[in-house]
Symmetry: C2
Subunit: 174 residues, 2 copies
Amino acid sequence: MKVACILGPGFEDSEFKQPYDALRDAGHEVTIVGLEAGQKLDGSKGNETATTDLAVADATPEDFDALLIPGGSSPDKLRAHDAPVAFVKAFFDQGKPVLAICHGPQLFLTAGTHRDHRLTAWKTIQVDLKLAGAKVVDEEVCVDRNLVTSRQPQDIPAFIRESLKLLEQVPARR
Amino acid sequence: MKVACILGPGFEDSEFKQPYDALRDAGHEVTIVGLEAGQKLDGSKGNETATTDLAVADATPEDFDALLIPGGSSPDKLRAHDAPVAFVKAFFDQGKPVLAICHGPQLFLTAGTHRDHRLTAWKTIQVDLKLAGAKVVDEEVCVDRNLVTSRQPQDIPAFIRESLKLLEQVPARR
């Protein structure tokens, strides 16, 4: 499967690196999509760096089977721009798997896609989601149809397990 | 006037330093309140550092006349803990001046004080506030009774001007 990983400045190190590695180890192709192509990004904890493969303005959601959204400051930085918000919305509109952890669901609030699925998020974002009318649970991982969400770094094993399971179940893009 | 400045990791450098300096230059006493006392904090842009004077768990809202909330990652880091949220709520409950810029109003969402005043915030937080039922404007500064809010570093001169004006108007604590 072709997976887009949308990433911006200040991503949470382990929430990017561990799912990214696990998806690739399982045979999926992961493309890092950012505000610009070739942008070097540092994790907020200084443990990981990443370089974007593709600018979101040049990325076509139809070219991907699924979307991965790591947490940290990255989702809030991305949602200040129109292109990443439209990119995220397209995966929901097309019913494709979306895998989001921690602050990732901040992008759903801006995209207006937060009310269609049961979901979880980092505890501060759970409040914003509830106030916006979303169906929020406080569990290590929440799977609702095409959406997998988790709260924090400690939840990464469950997040990876359910993400890989979902990707096995859905048909790949022709 | 005695002003509490609530500050956490990753504060936006200029949104802390410029209002902090302006309030002190105008003769106000500013106490930096954080998660711990004596905590050294770095600004997100690496231009400023600050050391907290007092732990929020030991701070008494009744000892202060007004509250300053700089932006950056600081408000979201703070609102993951109960004590800063209760501290912020107390200033609203007591009708004291609250001066918040950028991501500052994230604390209002968690404190449940976002619906009582017209306000502005950083553009991504404007979305969260609107979805939560707040009366949001997109202006460089918004003054509604005891609340002064601004959106971003470019708005700092207007934020400082209206904050100082409000502090001149309200009576000091006994």
